[in-house]
Symmetry: C2
Subunit: 249 residues, 2 copies
């Protein structure tokens, strides 16, 4: 077991018979905050295995593209958004899932990505029934393949990243209120935050958000009109904004 097997170690060169072909795919865990709930983009499988079950959108990595390029291409296809719109969305590699039996048909190694999108009109433009749609997180049965595990990892990652990055703005439209931003945290973390303290934390963090000058206020329903902000330049958050009673695992 410990002895090197000739042909399987890279530094000694490639033996074309030392490996079987692997399929490499990407899977997407796409989140949005919509109607005060965390929603996930899913597709319904049309054939075996797992026919009828919900699954994460995804597809093959093409011969001349990186996994990241494949993920963004698939994201554009599944959401029906323009390439330029998708180019600005937050897309981040999660991790790679490589269990030999994760797909019963063949050996598939999948690089999972997490995407955060604002509350878009609707997933797709066409009427294609096989396309992806939003489902509130946790309201679907078991997902196909190992997608439940992928989605759980993605949710945990997103929740953790809200603590020490400015990532929450990725869930918001270009201009947003602090109430909307706070809604993101509360929805992803499943907790309530103190409004005054949240406001201070965000406004005193340099580069988290920047005030929109022109119209100093706008309404989202009833209540006092709120000031509008844009995402700032900063990406990190020091010190972090820890979730209350934060035990993450």
């Amino acid at each position: 077991m410990t002895a090197p097997r000739p042909g399987a170690r890279r530094p000694d060169g490639y033996d074309p018979h030392a490996f079987e072909p692997f399929a490499v795919t990407v899977d997407l865990a796409v989140f949005t905050v919509r109607e005060e709930r965390l929603q996930v983009l899913l597709v319904q499988r049309g054939q075996e295995p797992y026919q009828g079950a919900w699954a994460l959108p995804g597809g093959f990595v093409l011969p001349r593209e990186s996994a990241g390029q494949a993920a963004r291409r698939e994201l554009a296809e599944e959401t029906g958004l323009s390439d330029t719109t998708v180019a600005h969305l937050h897309l981040e590699q999660l991790r790679t899932y490589s269990d030999p039996d994760r797909d019963p048909r063949m050996r598939v190694v999948s690089v999972a990505y997490t995407a955060l999108v604002p509350d878009l009109p609707e997933p797709r433009g066409g009427g294609d029934a096989a396309h992806a749609q939003w489902l509130p997180h946790g309201t679907y049965g078991p997902l196909a393949f190992d997608h439940d595990a992928i989605l759980a990892d993605a949710h945990e990652r997103v929740g953790a990243k809200l603590e020490y990055t400015c990532l929450a703005t990725a869930f918001c439209p270009p201009e947003f209120t602090l109430g909307e931003l706070r809604q993101v945290y509360e929805t992803v973390w499943g907790v309530e935050l103190d409004r005054p303290n949240f406001r201070r934390k965000v406004l005193t963090t340099p580069g988290f958000v920047q005030a929109v000058e022109g119209p100093p206020r706008l309404t989202g329903g009833r209540g006092k009109p709120a000031a509008l902000y844009r995402a700032g330049e900063a990406t990190a958050l020091h010190p972090p904004l820890l979730r209350p009673e934060g035990r993450q695992k």
Copy 2:
């Protein structure tokens, strides 16, 4: 661009001609703290491309193993340690590197792993010159392939994880002093920490370390003998131990 291409989307089934064979490998970024320096396990390439350059150890994922199993197998091979010893080392998936041109010979998708090991006797037991050896971080020329980028990502990840996990104990032998543990932080972060404050932080965090009862003290050279500790049960660190002036990127 936005239209679905038949055969490339997974939910519509597998087209055996929709993809070319990808080779899937693992690369290992193995760190240790040794002689008050951060050291990296590297191998010297024996042939083109990048002949003579240092590279991360790694190898192919075999048809019936996961990437994680492949990483642990390679770690055992490169370090020459027994499988049971390697089974207890901290090994963690970093991310996957999939640029189509990252290897000039063929399409190789590599799942990178980060391993943290204590100050081991010497990397290997045999006399094989082609085996891996420790080099102080930053003292080698440019690495082969995209391994400089992988190693930089790994270093950043390890530094960040020390902030909010109990991972530092993975660099230490089974029993260690608080001075040794502090040395880990100082070496990885490249800063000096206040000894009394570090001590308090570690001891007041439940489950970070646990005191070794029997012999209450032991020496590591000159100075007052220090108490010994073992790694505790906890994995997370709340609140985190932030590095001074912590700008991580």
